[in-house]
Amino acid sequence: MTLIRDFTAARLDETIPARAPWSAILRAGETLRIIDLEGQQSADTLIYNAHDTSERYSCQETLLAQGRVYVSTGTDLLSNEGRTLMTVTADTVGRHDTSAGACSCEANTVRFGHHTRYMHACRENFVLAAARHGMSKRDIVGNINFFMNVPILPDGALAIDDGISEPGGYVDLRAEMDVIVLISNCPQVNNPCNGFNPTPLRVLIWPGTSWPSNSAQAV
């Protein structure tokens, strides 16, 4: 699904450098676009109710409600209160993971060897981004990994595969309530989630009103 949007109408247009954390507050009705500029770059994402952060994204509620293990267009990203935080309104990739969580220094030691402990990781980013909003490690729960390809096979086999998002691929997320969004531009180089080479992401936020079509930019 491709939507035509006017990039100049965005109220925010930023690049998240490779390996960096990012966060923003969105008003209900606003749309966040995350663009995988160079392809195969995981955008680890968490969402909270901006007015009460004890209400937060629940991967298990989200998957239960849709009866399917991947996130794509139409997925309601549900909270632990069973309410929709954001809705995936566009997706050029088709399939995103929300089962395998975010990388951490500690988990890296188990997965890849003790020599990988002192490499930058998503949960370091999440803790720093959460701290900007009065939250801590306790608030970091199972996240969404946009642009990360994790097939889960009928026998349960699960592995991170080469990414299937092309350069310029994107997802659009419409805020269904006022939300805080945390993104870790994944620093991992020990598996294919970033093509073994972390690259920047671009994020745009559009206001909730309809956008003018006469100056639209096709993407």
Binding site: R19, S54, S58, C59, Q60, E61, L63, L64, A65, G67, R68, V69, Y70, N80, G82, R95, S99, A100, G101, A102, S104, C105, E106, A107, N108, T109, V110, R111, F112, H114, H115, T116, Y118, M119, H120, R123, S136, K137, R138, D139, I140, V141, G142, N143, I152, L153, P154, D155, G156, A157, L158, A159, I160, V189, N190, N191, P192, G195, F196, N197
Partner: protein
Amino acid sequence: MTTLDSATPEQHRQRYLQLRAAAQARAEAAAPRALDTGPAATLPETDIRHRESIPAGWYYTVRLRRGEALRLCNPSGTASVSAMLWNAAEPSERFNAGDTVKLQWSARLGRGKLLYSDMGRVLAAITEDTTGGRHDALTGGSTPASNLRRYGDASLRNTRDNFRLAAAKLGLSVRDIAPCITFFAGVRTDAEGRFVWHGAGTSGEFVDLRAELDLIVALSNCPHPLDPRPDYGNAPVEVTVFRAPPPTADDLCRTSCEEAERGYDNNAAYLRA
């Protein structure tokens, strides 16, 4: 940013493919254990510290010392029991469902598999399992919404609220609850990624969890939201807290793969420090 690892992308890829191939080889080599060689259904009385019967819809919390174990028994074969685990000394360290499936290259968690925390440490080991891995860490437990979808009644007791109640009585809160694991819940995915309910339970099936750190555990006996049976059920789950036999040098859970060995390395370092 300082790059502490100087390996090239291609070297990282080769390392990843080696780890993945080893995991695939282990999965193919692991034959299901015949029932007649399975674990003893009876625990020595002298090893038992406590027995608890959790009624349908209810919850139970227990503190385990490292080396103690929980036997979760499904007498009817129809119940499911969801579990949340915390490090008793530092509850911000807790069960991490994503790491648990990712670090073990599989969503199928059975005998020999581990329950990992978010800190790269082993909270508990699945030392026995008569179900052949019929457990679920992908979709978790029931919620008001799932009870409404399944039974048309959001007011039925559910695991989400049971965990909130359990956490509150432990000095914890909603913020301390993360994705959980549900035992006796055969959730698999089909080729398109849709969830399918896989197989029925058997009367008396059980799973043993050996604590590898001092733990707080919350258990919720609620039917799994993907269980297709139309009735909520009324079967209890029997919990036995017992002293586990000390791990032997060839302990399956500790030695099954290099990832497990590194997880236990992390436990050892934590316990020394």
